[in-house]
């Protein structure tokens, strides 16, 4: 009987406080749904069977941790907000003669009802949306497979249990707080005059220092390694700095404005400045959180969208500016036990070509072109003294990038064949092509001769085009050196082997192949059978020609395999970016909504006084709107500033992932900012309505 009464009370409480409970339940539903979807994607074996799909579960299972952490924070945040708003009500029950344990029962039932609704709705909507997600993933992975409805019972119960536990923990937390409160405190209204915010100087200094250092680290990071190492430190520093500055910096700034009499004592400034001072005190943490979340969304979306949209670009630069569908290399190592040395031999070009043609035929197409792209890639340091002289030695990472270079040696014939150009120069000469942006800067200073061991070459030509891209962003000086013949390239290789006492000549006898119809391969070779065919053929040849058991060192680098892989990884990241952005937006919307509600009640009193003191309703509304807009857009502006500072670092990180299309990244960043601002505006519009309803 009692239970019935309590249930009725709990239910009517939820209905009465729907303004608080609806967003609470909606957020729970959304989080549960996204968690369920990610978990199910992580367990869905069907994904592993589609092209590139193997990356989806793995990436989801990493990303799910972010969702878990955010869910815990949000569940606790909304619960404690609800508790704060309803403390008076609980106090009233207590005063009216209910024992605290009874109030606790009601609280439990309220929690139970809202949790059951949220989780049930979350799992159900997750199941419904799951198929949509699969369709979307297939779309971004560019496969036509249709994955039907799918429910994994394990995922269902794990989701339910996980979220139920989370909500129960939040309930316990509130229940303990309830038990500690005295009835009088429960009743006491929050209206006891709030203190003027004090300027927290130490926090201000900390904020400036951390943000400054974070920005500095982000801006100065130069080498790729530095970027990775410092990036996380910079992120943490910027987060700390953002919170500290929102807390202390805002108050200090507004107080400074207040001290400036000629500015402060003006109709439009006076009320805005002093109200904002209090608003910032109450909302600094919330606003800083929004700023961080917004930055997260912007960085996540701009990078994942760029990577995904840049797949074709990256592929093109990886495969000789689109001049190759496939790289083959028929080298293999051969151990001669008598001499105890490893030799490296090269499959004759005709043989390699024959093997490739055989395989092409098997997949229903023909070789269109088969061009040599033999090269030697080596890192070394350069000594420069007037005329350029080169000395070869092993390089470690400590060497300053000024004279650290990556050289790619290639015979001029191969270059001409692949690019279709006709570059000529005399014997004993080389052509010099800077590849990375840094190298381009240094290029001016390079002239004269270059010496490898005892052989000296004159730099006869400087070119600016090389088909292999993707190294523009590298912080090393990357050059291609075009040599008169393959013998010269081998000569350099021999010199290096001799200097460093290596066993092998490290020349890569690589050929760039184009097919009549690459699609044929793409369609029929999802399981990488062509690679296995190639290895078998090379091994068979080696067995026939060289007795023994050579371990092959071969390469069958197909653009269609790479394409699947890239779309798999970047597509999964893109999808993860979307899911996480949704979660971040949920968090943002919740913080804003609850901020508007709690502020609305405070502002109502202020609004009334201003009317009585002689402001028109229009003026009053205008002042309040102005303040809200400032408070509202401060986080977005902060996020955009963060994003701007992070832009160069992010660009370098993307360059490491072979994305060097800066225009694309800039475009994606701009689009993300616009899209985010629009969404944010929408959230603002929706929540502002509630706010004005309260104030009026």
């Amino acid at each position: 009987m009692k239970l019935g009464l309590f249930l009725r009370l709990a239910w009517s409480n939820i209905k009465k406080n729907h303004q608080l409970y609806i967003p609470h339940i909606l957020a729970g539903t959304g989080l549960t749904a996204i968690f369920y979807i990610m978990l199910t994607l992580g367990k869905d074996d069907r994904l592993r069977n589609i092209k590139g799909g193997y990356a989806v579960p793995e990436i989801m299972m990493i990303g799910i941790w972010v969702v878990i952490i955010l869910s815990v924070i949000l569940v606790f945040f909304t619960n404690s907000f609800l508790m704060k708003q309803r403390t008076r009500e609980y106090g009233m029950y207590n005063v009216l003669g209910m024992e605290k344990s009874h109030v606790g029962h009601i609280m439990f039932l309220e929690n139970l009802i809202s949790t059951v609704i949220a989780i049930t709705a979350g799992v159900l909507s997750g199941m419904l949306v799951y198929k949509l997600c699969c369709m979307f993933i297939c779309k971004i992975l560019r496969v036509s497979t249709i994955l039907g409805f799918y429910v994994n019972p394990e995922c269902v119960w794990k989701t339910v249990a996980g979220f139920a536990a989370m909500y129960f923990a939040a309930f316990l937390w509130n229940r303990i707080r309830l038990a500690r409160l005295k009835p009088v405190e429960l009743l006491a209204s929050a209206g006891a005059g709030e203190r003027e915010p004090k300027t927290k100087w130490i926090l201000l200094v900390i904020g400036l220092a951390t943000l400054g250092t974070g920005y500095y680290l982000a801006l100065k990071a130069e080498s790729p390694l530095e970027v990775i190492k410092d990036f996380f430190i910079a992120v943490i520093l910027v987060i700390v700095g953002t919170y500290a500055l929102f807390l202390a910096g805002s108050v200090a700034f507004l107080k400074l404005l207040r001290r400036k009499k000629s500015f402060y004592y003006r109709k439009s400034n006076m009320i805005a400045v002093s109200d904002l001072l209090y608003r910032m005190k109450q909302n600094a943490v919330g606003l800083a959180s929004i700023a961080i979340l917004a930055t997260g969304v912007l960085v996540m979306m701009s990078t994942t969208v760029s990577l995904y949209a840049g797949c074709e670009d990256s592929l093109k630069s990886m495969y000789m500016d689109g001049a190759a569908d496939l790289f083959v290399e028929g080298g293999y190592s051969y151990r001669n036990d008598e001499e105890e040395k490893i030799y490296r031999f090269q499959l004759p070009e005709e043989e390699l070509r024959a093997i490739t043609e055989r395989i092409a035929e098997k997949y229903g197409t023909k070789v269109k072109s088969f061009k040599p792209g033999r090269n030697l890639t080596e890192s070394m340091t350069v000594e420069m003294n007037g005329a350029t002289k080169t000395y070869v030695q092993e390089r470690s990472f400590e060497i300053p990038p000024e004279n650290a270079v990556d050289f790619l040696f290639m015979p001029i014939d191969d270059y001409n064949q692949i690019t279709g150009r006709n570059v000529q120069f005399g014997d004993g000469e080389i052509a010099w092509v800077p590849l990375s942006d840094n190298a381009k800067d240094l290029n001016e200073r390079v002239s004269g001769t270059i010496q490898f061991g005892d052989k000296t070459y004159t730099i006869g030509k400087k070119l600016d085009y090389f088909p292999q891209k993707g190294t523009e962003g590298s912080l090393l000086n990357v050059y291609a050196i075009l040599m008169p013949s393959i013998e010269d390239v081998e000569g350099v290789g021999r010199q290096i082997s001799r200097d460093l006492d290596w066993d092998m000549l490290r020349v890569s006898y690589m050929y760039a192949v184009q097919f009549e119809d690459t699609e044929k391969f793409a369609e029929n070779d999802a399981d990488h059978q062509s690679f296995a065919d190639f290895c078998d053929a090379v091994r068979a040849y080696a067995k026939k020609e060289y007795d023994g058991d050579p371990s092959t060192h071969t390469r069958w680098d197909a653009s269609w395999h790479m394409r699947d892989e890239m779309y798999g990884i970047y597509g999964s990241l893109f999808f993860l970016g979307i899911l996480l952005s949704i979660v971040f937006l949920f968090a943002t919307a919740l913080i804003i909504y609850y901020k508007q509600i709690s502020e609305g009640y405070d502002d109502r009193g202020r609004f009334q006084i201003l009317l009585k003191v002689g402001m028109t309703e229009k003026e009053t509304k205008a002042t309040i709107r102005r303040q809200i807009v400032i408070v509202f857009f401060l986080p977005v502006i902060t996020a955009v500033i963060h994003m701007t500072v992070a832009y160069p670092v992010t660009k370098k990180l993307l360059a490491l992932l072979m994305l060097s299309n800066n225009k694309l990244f800039l475009l994606c960043t701009a689009l993300t900012i616009v899209a985010f601002t629009l969404l944010y505006l929408l959230i603002y519009r929706l929540t502002a309505r509630t706010y004005y309803r309260i104030v009026r």
Binding site: K267, V613, G614
Partner: protein, 254 residues
């Protein structure tokens, strides 16, 4: 010369649902001379607050006229109303209505700032008033840091700073202890002695006994009025309580 003339004021509220009508004021006529200190008394529900709201131009009458220095309030356009109120009327409320985000100084200066006064002028106007009200020590404090009496004096200073033609006080002593009440009434006497016209709505016989004239309202009409004449505060107090007794025991107007 009459600074405020109220003639045949009538106010009927229509409840939102059901359309039943409530008559708050039936026929109120009176005038206030320049420099007068008038108290309006009446029980809860007698129409005091309605009257004050109409005088403050926060509400419009159903019929009748309110003239402030010969200007009819209802003729003023909505857009100019706030400016008109700021420039001509000063308000003192029972609940002080100070903004807790403003210091005492800023609370007092607010009407001037809203009027677009030059920042340099502000201090000159603030100083004499703060001294007069004995709050010059408190100017940098915030409302939560000062007592009720001090808050009310701040509110009075805020009302006075624009040099209004008329001060409207709504139960100004309602939230004060007896000592603060005495202080505030003394302040009102003093500013009245300097020529400030005051119209005060009150429940308190004691507050009313400081006025130069007391109006009694019952059932939406002016029921009776007492002039101070040569009476002391005590004598006036006695007269007021007699009238109130008559009012509550249901005597008819003679």
């Amino acid at each position: 010369m009459a600074i405020l003339e109220v003639s045949n004021l009538k106010k009927i509220y229509t409840t939102r649902f059901g359309g039943s009508k409530v008559q708050a004021l039936s026929n109120v006529t009176f005038s206030v001379e320049k420099g007068e200190y008038v108290a309006i008394m009446g029980e809860s529900g007698s129409g005091k607050t309605t009257l004050l709201n109409i005088l403050a131009a926060l509400d419009r009458p159903t019929a009748g006229k309110v003239m402030l220095e010969g200007k009819e309030l209802s003729a003023i356009k909505e857009a100019e109303m706030a400016t008109f109120r700021r420039e001509n009327l000063g308000f003192v409320f029972q609940e002080f209505n100070l903004l807790d985000t403003f210091s005492i100084r800023d609370n007092i200066l607010l009407p001037l700032v809203l009027n677009g006064e030059k920042p340099a002028e502000l201090e000159n106007k603030l100083k004499p008033i703060a001294e007069e009200l004995g709050i010059e020590e408190l100017l940098n404090k915030f409302p939560y840091e000062v007592s009720g009496g001090q808050k009310q004096r701040t509110a009075v200073a805020r009302a006075l700073i624009t040099n209004p033609k008329l001060i409207l006080a709504d139960e100004p002593t309602g939230a004060l202890d007896s000592k603060s009440t005495d202080d505030l009434l003394r302040v009102f006497r003093e500013i009245n002695a300097k020529g400030q016209t005051i119209l005060m709505v009150t429940h308190s016989t004691k507050a009313a006994s400081h006025a130069s004239r007391v109006l009694f309202i019952r059932d939406g009409e002016v029921f009776h009025q007492i002039y101070r004449g040569d009476c002391t505060n005590e004598q006036l107090y006695q007269k007021i309580s007699d009238t109130l007794t008559l009012l509550t025991t249901g005597g008819e107007q003679r």
